[in-house]
């Protein structure tokens, strides 16, 4: 009897340690990246790093502004593309469609969600980049190589659709059927019900889902490198090349080891990414959890 109790205790403690240590990973990541980033923060002020636009590691000039702008442009465009498509898809699947249709559509969303970033990159290079270069750019009277904010935004937008759709579906399914039926009984159409009841009731959840999707888009790496053009200048239009933060980290890790400050600069970039993603995730997960428990 006692041996069984003991076993129960020991198992409990060891599992507790396992759980705690995996939790500790979040903290360790933050501290580790910050410590690696601190040399460059001692040399340059935070504001200088974020607002300067000269990136010449050899001359001790580390301006992150082009990379920040690259990330902002690309993520913004990706969300602008993905949000309406995902919202309409999710509304159709939860409010309108037969379960037959759902059973048919879900596997497609599965596939979209499962495809690795690098495959999206290949797709971008095979279809989207040539499309931008041969169709979109000439249409507005400009010529580019196609490796632009536009191509990058389209590719990223598609990668984030499955995440957004599944989050939206989860949020919409939380709205009770009585609410919908009450508005139907008052003579509202389906769209009126969706617009005035479902969407209004789930507005905080929709915002949280979008924030979560934004954090996902900002961290996407390989697909971005393959189509963004990797030019360290802040983009001024959709048809300019760009250079988002993850691409900066991934492209330079090989050469950074020779210079301590260079390494520190890249780790600072990773820290920015970590910090933003952490804040976005905490916010949206807390909102989503609150909605779910209601």
């Amino acid at each position: 009897m006692n041996r069984r109790r003991l076993k129960d205790r020991i198992a409990g403690y060891s599992m507790f340690i396992l759980t705690i240590s995996s939790l500790f990973l979040v903290v360790a990541m933050g501290i580790g990246l910050y410590m690696k980033a601190s040399p460059i923060l001692q040399e340059h002020s935070l504001w200088d790093l974020l607002s300067a636009s000269e990136w010449k590691p050899m001359k001790n000039q580390f301006g992150f502004f082009p990379f920040l702008m690259g990330t902002l442009w690309v993520s913004g465009l990706a969300l602008i593309i993905a949000i309406p498509i995902s919202l309409l898809t999710a509304i159709y699947l939860t409010e309108y469609s037969h379960s037959m249709v759902r059973r048919f559509v879900y596997p497609f969303l599965d596939i979209l969600a499962g495809l690795p970033s690098v495959i999206y990159g290949v797709w971008g290079m095979l279809l989207i980049v040539p499309w931008v270069a041969n169709v979109a750019a000439p249409w507005v009277g400009r010529s580019t190589t196609g490796y632009t904010v536009l191509a990058c935004g389209i590719v990223l937008g598609v990668t984030v659709i499955p995440l957004l759709v599944s989050l939206f579906i989860e949020i919409f399914s939380n709205v009770s059927h009585e609410l919908r039926e009450a508005t139907f009984a008052l003579g509202a159409t389906r769209w009126q019900t969706t617009k005035n009841v479902v969407i209004r009731k789930t507005a905080p959840g929709i915002v949280a889902a979008i924030v979560l999707a934004a954090s996902r888009v900002m961290g996407e790496t390989i697909a971005v490198i393959m189509v963004c053009g990797n030019l360290a200048i802040a983009p001024g239009s959709l048809l300019d090349a760009c250079y988002p933060i993850p691409a900066l980290i991934a492209n330079n890790y090989g050469e950074m080891l020779s210079m301590p400050l260079y390494e520190s600069a890249l780790m600072f970039a990773a820290f920015i990414l970590f910090f933003v993603v952490l804040v976005f995730n905490l916010f949206s997960r807390l909102v989503l959890k609150k909605i779910k428990s209601e």
Partner: protein
């Protein structure tokens, strides 16, 4: 009245358009990769190491990347399961249903799930430098393990949470300790373990940013844990950068293999979820 019906029609049309667009994207991604890569795929591609210099072309295939990916994914999946099953068990059996610690833990796993793999890679890289390790099979496996643990835990926990408390109480009333109920729990979440494993394998095999720093790249198959190793996504990415068309062809063929693996995983995941979830007590 008329306006509302008009609005209804407009938005319904937009929804059909959105669904069609999603379908179009899926088909376009898969078909464009297949169209470019499938004719290039041959037995030679999947059974031989790259010939000649890395960027120089020459014949050969990408067996190095296939084997490297299998090593990393296999190792990471086993380690991930060993770590995450006890954690899920602890969260659901040892903790009380509304425990504060459980809330914080689940939130932390949600956050870890959201952290991009490039950050895992950068973090893993600094730790490896700190420990004096170089890019290696071991490093890559460990980083991928960290990357997939949150996926394992979240998807198993989602199902474990729904296990009715009566089931546990029945076991307790027969005199079992909490630890001894692990058999009951594991049997209940078995389909979830299977789908979580498939999901994790899918994420692990497609991850490039995490292993870029930590596993490196090599034209040969690693023979020890401390050697660098190639992976499928990185072999696609690196070989596409080569000016040589032959090397690029290898990249497109590797992309087809990667896509086929992911398609297989996501389809079998659906099947398992549909078939085995009926054995569960609701």
């Amino acid at each position: 009245m008329k306006r509302s019906i008009f609005e209804e029609k407009v938005f319904k049309a937009l929804m059909y358009a959105a669904i069609a667009l999603v379908m179009f994207f899926v088909a376009s991604v898969v078909l464009s990769v297949f169209k470019r890569g499938l004719p290039l795929l041959s037995w030679e591609m999947v059974s031989q190491l790259p010939g000649g210099g890395f960027y120089m072309g020459g014949g050969g295939g990408f067996l190095n990347a296939i084997v490297g990916s299998v090593y990393i994914v296999g190792g990471a999946t086993i380690l991930g399961l060993i770590i995450s099953i006890p954690v899920v068990f602890f969260l659901n059996v040892y903790l009380k249903p509304y425990s504060k610690f459980g809330f914080v833990a689940r939130l932390a796993y949600d956050v870890l799930f959201g952290i991009p793999s490039i950050v895992y890679g950068a973090f893993g890289f600094t730790i490896m430098i700190y420990l004096g390790l170089r890019a290696s099979l071991l490093g890559g496996t460990l980083v991928v393990t960290l990357l997939i643990i949150p996926i394992f835990i979240r998807s198993m926990d989602e199902v474990a949470k729904t296990i009715p408390s009566d089931l546990m109480e029945a076991a307790y009333s027969l005199g079992s300790t909490r630890w001894e109920t692990i058999g009951v729990i594991v049997r209940q979440i078995a389909p979830a373990i299977a789908t979580a494993t498939l999901l994790s394998i899918g994420r692990a095999i497609g991850d490039a940013a995490g292993v870029m720093f930590t596993a490196g790249f090599s034209d040969r198959i690693p023979t020890s844990l401390s050697q660098q190793t190639a992976t499928l996504p990185l072999s696609v990415y690196f070989q596409l950068q080569s000016p040589s068309l032959e090397v690029q062809d290898r990249a497109y063929a590797a992309a087809v293999v990667l896509t086929l693996i992911v398609l297989f995983l996501s389809i079998s995941g659906r099947i398992i979820m549909n078939r085995f979830s009926r054995n569960k007590i609701q």
